[in-house]
Symmetry: none
Subunit: 139 residues, 4 copies
């Protein structure tokens, strides 16, 4: 197994572009979302709460972005594990792990430079907006 | 999807009436409950603990009211999602979300002005008393 | 030294009257305050946040009421100890102790039945309103 | 005493401009800062961490912005009270109050619509950058 490495942290300039792309996708769908970007060190770089977004989404968006960095993978993987029940349920009390769709790592040169986390609408919508944000980095 | 907006915060005068109605419903059933009202900013406006109510219900009533404001919906929705198992279980580790029946948003002019949270008895009883409180605002 | 004992917990009916008296004093001075009453078990019985009161006063009013119960004395005593410096400063990191004026025990038959905590205005004003509330019990 | 009221929450568009102005001031001085904007409900609207800013400044910038909203005043007031010693030291254990310079309320039509919080450099530098951000709203 090849270990996915942490790369240099995403810059604020790049993080803003990621957020801008996600915000555009959310606006196009009239979704009021919270958008967070964490860097490869596991700290928040930027966060925007769109007007009328529910307060509850502020910590959730951050948790999704941090989970994607902390575990170097999309949070959707954890949602699926929980949905299978049994052993998968242990993820519900794993420290630092938020098992909700909408967190996706940002990669450059095959290394994790950060992650985006989205919260507000249905989980598939959160995932859709997160994906839109990643395209700034992944093309 | 139309976004439900936060409106102006419920006044203390209105919050007292909401609590009074809920307290009357609880008293009529001889239930010793904790009744909390949060406003549209996500802060507690008023809280009453009825005599003999269990201590554990103080933070729970507050958590239900805040969850209803933070996510702009009745907490019962989350209870049902959890009860379905599978994917629904992910709500058990959603930051700031209390998946217990008894929290209901208070709406005026189609905007969230606050929420009521009830704790003490069975969950359907908590829901019944919360509903009684909302009638002061919703008619 | 005679030990001040904890008595039976203040009832919600009494707590409401304490709050009403404090609220009247605050209103008369046009102060927007948070008023909390704890009982003799160290749990909040009732809390009212007046319209336009600062959010920061919600946890502070509770902390003052709980401090007065937890240590069976007016919080002002701790303020004065802190003000003297030296040894007094250790109170700044004493668990469960909030060294701010505005918390006063409620006594009946020489026993602590609860306490009132006020927050919002200058500390002497907080003390003044707390005192107004205690008169319901102390006469 | 006239009570300063909370007004409608600052919009994300306005918050971005406040952050942009603060970021420009920080960049001009080559200070790597964290800039947070909270709204009048006491929730974060936007946060930017400039490249190379210390991790520790992320929670501090948020705490300063929230303190300025929760207490409707610049955090510098609390710094000065602490600096005077004696009674002022009690602020060191006031729940939810961060007594560090760099948090300033944002006012519109004489109401609090939010606050800016800056952290990273010396406290006077934090204050300088926070002030630069407020000019977008205050002119």
């Amino acid at each position: 197994m090849q270990v996915l490495e942490y790369g240099p942290p995403i810059s604020l300039v790049d993080a803003k572009q990621v957020i801008e792309a996600a915000e555009a996708e959310a606006s196009a769908n009239r979704w009021a979302m919270v958008i967070a970007v964490a860097d490869s060190t596991g700290h928040i770089v930027a966060l925007h709460r769109m007007d009328h977004a529910q307060f509850g989404s502020v910590p959730i968006a951050q948790a999704k972005a941090l989970t994607a960095v902390n575990f170097k993978r999309p949070t959707k993987i954890f949602v699926e594990a929980v949905a299978q029940g049994g052993l998968g349920l242990r993820l519900l009390s794993t420290p630092g792990l938020c098992p909700l769709e909408g967190g996706i790592p940002l990669l450059r040169d095959d290394k994790v430079i950060g992650a985006i986390g989205i919260s507000a609408a249905r989980s598939t919508q959160d995932g859709q907006v997160a994906l839109a944000g990643t395209k700034v980095i992944h093309g």
